[in-house]
């Protein structure tokens, strides 16, 4: 099952088309050696007026305000691509393991989550799982995820 993405594409293409159109229409229409009607010139100039909105902000505070409006837009686009849950709990990119006898960092009375798949035994200490929450692993060729 794939999610339908075409509505998003239509929205994106429309947005770009409108942006380009606002500049393209007055530029291509208001040209030497071309006839122009009164209405179309008015429309073209109005579009330019919209396009030049930014340059009409002459006072420092109107410019600052416009910038402040843009910051959340840019910030939002950036944050959507971040995983703030992984800021809190760093994932283990390359989980490493030691032999049972050498695991001195685990206390005898600590609790471990243990699996044994076809004779291969692995222990995931709860205090570590409680932080990372997720450990992707392969045991006896079986891809598993230990979660807590």
């Amino acid at each position: 099952m794939r999610r339908r993405t075409w509505p998003l594409w239509v929205a994106l293409i429309l947005t770009v088309a409108v942006g380009v159109g606002i500049i393209a229409f007055p530029t291509l229409y208001i040209m030497p050696f071309k006839p122009q009607t009164v209405t179309a010139v008015a429309v073209g100039l109005s579009l330019l007026w919209v396009a030049l909105l930014g340059s009409r902000l002459r006072r420092w505070w109107t410019r600052a305000l416009a910038l402040l409006v843009l910051i959340p837009v840019g910030g939002g686009a950036w944050f959507a691509r971040q995983n703030h849950f992984e800021w809190m709990f760093n994932p283990l990119k390359q989980p490493e393991y030691v032999d049972a006898a050498k695991a001195t960092f685990v206390h005898n009375d600590d609790i471990v989550m243990a699996v044994n798949i076809r004779g291969a035994a692995v222990a995931y200490p709860i205090l570590q799982l409680g932080y990372h929450h997720i450990v992707n692993d392969v045991v006896s060729g079986e891809p598993i995820v230990a979660t807590y």
Partner: protein, 275 residues
């Protein structure tokens, strides 16, 4: 692994105090405790639960001397970000903020042992189970035994059916460390791994049953139809006879009067643990 596709999971959110993970391959969001895909291309699929144990490290090391242990990440150790030894106690005091209160005879954050078999589910207060040494009960029509290890903390659950008979287990002895697990039918002695070590059934192996250590509120969310037992205290031999409390102790069948059947609509399967 799902339908031949290998997925890699990352932490991606929280839903009613149980975390949500996301796979890198399809971007689907999965509920940790149920293993169910809740949003995305694989919505509705469920991950297969791998049989697992929650054991005391010393007990595990004795059983699996050649096993491997997840290593700590030096960076996290340096930043002292790993959970402290008393972490579970602290989490046990966290407030419970969920969309729907669990109700039932237990406080929402009571740790329970939850078992779901063939659409039937039941939960026992973890502390009561540990204090009992061996608890016999049944989930639906499957007779089970919740067996505490001599270490006093590790727990395993077994199907009590063995060759045509249903066994009644007791922990014999006053001290858990030196107690032996016996069945009353054959007086065979069993170990914590479910192996018959001495007696008529010697050499037999009990079938383990998956269980989930979970908070009551979370177990109830994913098993709305669950039955639940009120906390009980085991019979302890005391000098004054009159002080012996009414609830029944280890190895005795729980009477139905203490089983609360809660109302609910749908049933779901088990997963791993919540926090």
């Amino acid at each position: 692994m799902l339908d031949g596709r290998r997925l890699t999971f990352r932490l991606a959110g929280i839903n009613n105090q149980n975390f949500v993970m996301r796979d890198e391959q399809t971007g689907t969001w999965w509920q940790q405790v149920s293993g169910l895909a809740i949003q995305g291309p694989l919505k509705g699929k469920r991950l297969t639960l791998i049989p697992h144990d929650e054991l005391m490290f010393a007990t595990w090391k004795t059983e699996e001397p050649r096993g491997r242990v997840l290593k700590t990440d030096p960076k996290i150790v340096k930043e002292e970000d790993y959970e402290p030894a008393d972490w579970e106690d602290k989490v046990g005091k966290f407030p419970v903020k969920v969309a729907k209160a669990p109700g039932g005879p237990l406080e929402p954050r009571t740790l329970v042992v939850g078992i779901a078999i063939k659409g039937k589910s039941k939960a026992w207060p973890h502390a009561s189970v540990l204090s009992s040494g061996a608890t016999i009960d049944q989930v639906g029509d499957v007779p089970i035994a919740l067996v505490v290890s001599p270490d006093g903390r590790s727990l395993r659950v077994f199907d009590r059916r063995m060759k045509d008979q249903t066994l009644t287990f007791v922990r014999a002895g006053t001290d858990l460390k030196e107690s032996t697990l016996l069945d009353l039918e054959t007086m065979t002695e069993w170990d914590f791994q479910g192996r018959a070590v001495q007696g008529e059934l010697a050499g037999s192996q009990l079938t383990p049953v998956d269980y989930l250590l979970d908070y009551w509120f979370d177990w109830k969310t994913y098993h709305p139809d669950t039955e639940v037992l009120k906390p009980w205290t085991p019979v302890v031999k005391k000098k004054a006879k009159s002080e012996i409390p009414a609830p029944k102790g280890p190895g005795e069948k729980k009477d139905e009067g203490r089983v609360t059947k809660d109302e609910g609509k749908n049933k779901k399967d088990e997963g791993k643990k919540d926090h």
